[in-house]
């Protein structure tokens, strides 16, 4: 039971972080389908930091530095989306899809190159982080508390506050609803959209490092992040682009995802003797059903996905 709660919380943390990222980008008017790729790149940044930073650093600084690099790589990578979709008015769906493919391919090429350079016989795309991982974890009895659970809570509150209580957040949302109207009162739409995308890149990168630290202590970068970027988008839509609802939706999705890892531990579920395939499919099936039920009255930002054209007032 404790294990189920633990996994639910950690998966929900990943989903909340990435979904909030998507939320910022879409509120500014840019659909970020590249979150999956951004997660991979963020995970790569964090994993490389864990590999090269001395383990002797104090835990707090170590964690901060790993987070910093994950966010940095996520932000830099998301600027590829920003420049194409905001400045060059590219189709956001294509660019997002390209970023997903590029993320996994680039991460694999980079990690393989590093591994092969260190040892010519090693052509794997695996980075190990057994020792560094321990710094992220604290034990309360048998409950494995991951610092990311706390970080996510802080960011969740911060995201809500920035979006609804600051001038910046309200302006950002205006650019996603009616950019021409926003521009007419002196808001720089380009700047706002850039900030929206870069924030989503940072949060996506953070979600990526959180994801690969969730269960295992090594990561094979060929695998990407198993559709978590898209699950996060489903969470965001189900959460109607509102941070608090996103958190609740993420907890629900996290629960079903956690179930596939832990169902063997429950007498009655194991007794049902369902194939593990069912549990693997479950989060995706649930999200489809949920989307079917909630998409009709979508509260999506009205101008999302449409390149900003100053001439269209």
């Amino acid at each position: 039971m404790l294990l189920l709660i633990q996994y639910t919380l950690i998966f929900a943390s990943v989903l909340i972080l990435v979904a909030l990222g998507g939320c910022y980008s879409e509120h500014s008017g840019v659909i970020n389908l590249g979150l999956e790729g951004i997660m991979v790149m963020g995970a790569l940044g964090g994993a490389l930091a864990m590999r090269y930073l001395p383990v002797s650093l104090p835990g707090f600084i170590f964690i901060l530095l790993v987070l910093f690099f994950a966010i940095l790589v996520g932000v830099v990578y998301s600027s590829l989306l920003a420049v194409a979709s905001i400045n060059f008015k590219a189709d956001q769906t294509i660019v997002g899809t390209a970023l997903n493919m590029l993320g996994t391919a680039a991460a694999t090429v980079i990690v393989k190159a590093i591994n092969t350079a260190a040892n010519p016989n090693d052509v794997s795309s695996i980075i190990q982080y057994i020792e560094p991982k321990k710094k992220f974890i604290m034990y309360f009895g048998s409950f494995e508390f991951n610092w990311f659970m706390f970080i996510t809570l802080v960011i969740l509150f911060g995201a809500w506050f920035v979006l609804y209580k600051t001038k910046f957040g309200l302006r950002l949302m205006a650019c996603g609803e009616h950019p021409q109207a926003a521009a007419s009162v002196g808001i720089n739409v380009f700047k706002m959209r850039w900030s929206g995308v870069l924030i989503s890149g940072g949060l996506g990168g953070l979600g990526g490092i959180c994801y690969i630290l969730a269960g295992v202590s090594e990561w094979r970068f060929e695998y990407g992040v198993a559709g978590f970027g898209f699950l996060a988008l489903a969470v965001m839509i189900f959460g109607q682009w509102k941070p608090t609802r996103i958190a609740l939706a993420a907890l629900m999705f996290g629960f079903f995802r956690a179930l596939s890892n832990t169902y063997m531990g429950f007498g009655f579920l194991a007794a049902l003797n369902l194939p593990s395939t069912i549990y693997n499919m479950l989060p995706y099936i649930i999200s489809l059903i949920v989307l079917a039920l909630t998409s009709k009255n979508s509260k999506a930002p009205k101008a999302e996905g449409i390149p900003y054209d100053q001439g269209m007032r």
Partner: protein, 379 residues
Amino acid sequence: MSKEKTNYLKKPGVQSFVSSVICIILGLLIAFIVLLLINPAGAFASIMEVIKNFLHFKNPTLRLRFFGETLVKTVPLLMCALAVLFSYKVGLFNIGTPGQYCAGICAAIYAALKWQWGWLPCVLLAMLAGAALASIVGVLKAYLNVNEVISGIMLNWIVLYFTNATLTAVKNPASKDTLTIASVNKAGLLPTMGLDNLFKDKYVTIAIPIAILIAVAIMIILDKTKFGYELKATGINKDAAKYCGMMEKTNIIVTLVISGALAGLGAAFYYLTDFEQWAVTQSTVPAMGFNGIAATFLGGLNPIGTIFSSYFITHITAGGAFVDLTKYSSQITDLISALIIYLCGFVLFMKTTMNNMIKKSEAKRHVKQANVNDEGGDK
């Protein structure tokens, strides 16, 4: 003389071609830089291997054989690209193509191995499987307003797990792959009609000419028929189409069904040649569907262009096997195709720039011409 030249560049088809070539060159260039950063020695040789692919061999028979195999691998990519293209023309981004392709694999292999069906029913079942899966996306989109990208991705994962579980029943006990069709049910293999002798390769089948015919058929349907026109009109403006008496909801579903059927067909065209078996431990949907997106956009959203772009992408992917694997990884070709799709996002910008350049040079010439006329008037 120069006037004719500018007119030539004005043609949308030429512009698409030029943009695609620019994307390819930039993609290869960036990949080359990446190789240089990893290991400067051998970067040039490796990128040349990627470009050369089967020309790597000196022996003409081997060349022909590997050319044939590149064509065999082009077929599923072309079909997936056509699937993406067909839906994109109707304003839908069918990113569920990899899943529909996967469903086609599942149906074709299972029918051929477990039920020992002949090749034709296997092909039809694969089409049906892809179409059925895509229809879910279509119904969700048309009636419940579910974003087709998200539902497509979710179905991709569901189908992947389903396929792995289903095909475990026809797995080779000694490995993680499914059994070969030749070992169980020879009638399940696609007929070759002598093409295998032509290429000296048993995997070359009728799938190759059929796929090209389908590409031509898609172009005719989209450009020359009322049906295609209605579908495109729905894509451009759903409400206007409805107002004109078109059944916009049905059109969305029909589009996705056709798109899914194409993807399923591609799967049957590949896996019923025995060229590759399905590994039941796959952790991601086949990349074929995603590369189909690359081929579609690189082909300038034109079915005929897609034939060439599919071939090109398969060509460099196959060439990836010849890079110096002690220095680089073969994923460098995935990187190239991903870069190409990313660059394809800039095609609109390139076309606008080209048009602006043409306009500018024409304006200049008009001014010149006017000056010449004025001078003529003075004399």
